[in-house]
């Protein structure tokens, strides 16, 4: 149990440092400190937050930013399916738990085999991550106005995080096909389509999943 708690908290701390760069970049993309913190408090799913601010920062519209970000957040619905047999209890408890259903909590929970450890992994990762993600965002947002993100290469921090999140999805052939196709669709559309649309359209690549193998 101790090792589960320790690895959950280590992950939370690391993600908190990354939240710093989200805070800095979000503010430099035009969000206020309050809007930046609200995203981390209420949206609380890193890739979607990053995706939205990446589109806004490049000059995209709200609609363009929203499409890709929402589609990305749909994966948390899939994670919920995987976690549903583990996270039981009252409706209120499950609604609260739903807010914590993201990449990291799913990965940490499904890495355990003992049902008791699975629950401990879910809640310690969920709560720890929530605290550090929001603390990091707040500090980053406050510092943000005084930092030139280009100078410190912080704009690449998003890319680096996306690569980290992408890696586990490339283990399957279908995952690799969807990734290559998604990237191609996006690049082909960038010169002509409104900002944000190329990211949303890349979602069409999931239809490689229609074929069985």
């Amino acid at each position: 149990m101790r090792s589960v708690v320790v690895s959950s908290l280590t992950l939370s701390g690391a993600v908190g440092v990354f939240a710093l760069s989200f805070g800095v970049l979000s503010v430099s993309a035009g969000a206020s400190i309050a809007q930046t913190c609200a995203l981390s408090l209420f949206t609380f799913t890193g890739a979607s937050q990053l995706s939205a601010m990446s589109v806004i920062g490049a000059g995209g519209t709200v609609g363009g930013a929203l499409g890709g970000a929402l589609l990305l957040s749909a994966r948390n619905g899939v994670y919920g399916l995987a976690l549903a047999p583990i996270i039981k209890g009252s409706l209120r408890k499950r609604l609260l738990a739903a807010h914590f259903v993201i990449d990291e909590t799913t990965a940490m929970t499904t890495a355990q085999t003992d049902p008791r450890l699975q629950k401990i992994a879910f809640w310690t990762t969920g709560i720890g991550l929530y605290l550090f993600w929001n603390l990091g965002t707040l500090i980053g947002a406050i510092l943000g106005s005084g930092i030139d993100p280009q100078k410190y290469g912080l704009d690449v921090a998003f890319t680096a995080a996306f690569v980290t999140m992408l890696a586990p999805h490339l283990r399957t052939t279908k995952g690799r096909q969807a990734a290559v196709l998604g990237a191609l669709i996006c690049l082909v559309l960038i010169p002509s389509a409104p900002l944000g649309v190329p990211i949303l359209a890349a979602g069409l690549a999931v239809f490689v999943g229609l074929r069985r193998s």
């Binding site: 990354f18 970049l25 993309a29 035009g30 809007q35 609200a38 209420f42 799913t45 890739a47 979607s48 937050q49 990053l50 939205a52 990446s54 806004i56 920062g57 000059g59 519209t61 709200v62 970000a69 589609l71 990305l72 948390n76 619905g77 919920g80 399916l81 976690l83 409706l91 499950r94 738990a97 739903a98 259903v101 280009q150 290469g153 690449v156 921090a157 998003f158 890319t159 680096a160 996306f162 690569v163 992408l166 279908k174 995952g175 969807a178 990734a179 196709l181 990237a183 669709i185 996006c186 690049l187 960038i190 010169p191 190329p198 990211i199 890349a202 979602g203 690549a205 999931v206 999943g209």
Partner: protein, 108 residues
């Protein structure tokens, strides 16, 4: 990514994204829960992160607004890919990639 002169950022984006993201989380964990979805639908849904994350990497590395091309960000991406391949933790990946791009910008 470049800081836009006039940003489209608004509270409506914050609210719509938060509501939508929570709806998906609740739909999976609470509404559908342990009921089974059609297999073909699940097969497609699990591919969303692969398709979209790869698209985001491509966009943030090879474009500025509507212009395709590459610059110091590509070096950051290469370093990030190597670091992830070597199983470096997230924070190390981020720092190495950002530092690479920052140093090249300072040098250039």
């Amino acid at each position: 990514m470049i800081a836009a002169a006039s940003s489209a950022m608004s509270w409506s984006l914050v609210i719509a994204l938060s509501a939508g993201a929570l709806a998906f989380k609740i739909a999976g964990l609470v509404v559908v829960g342990t009921r089974k979805l059609p297999v073909v639908l699940e097969r497609c849904l699990v591919l969303i992160p692969a398709a979209l994350l790869a698209a985001l990497v491509a966009k943030d590395t090879f474009s500025r607004a509507h212009q395709l091309g590459f610059d110091e960000r590509l070096a950051g991406l290469v370093v990030a890919v190597i670091a992830v391949w070597r199983r470096a933790p997230l924070i190390v990946v981020v720092i190495l990639a950002a530092a690479t791009t920052a140093l090249l910008r300072a040098a250039g």
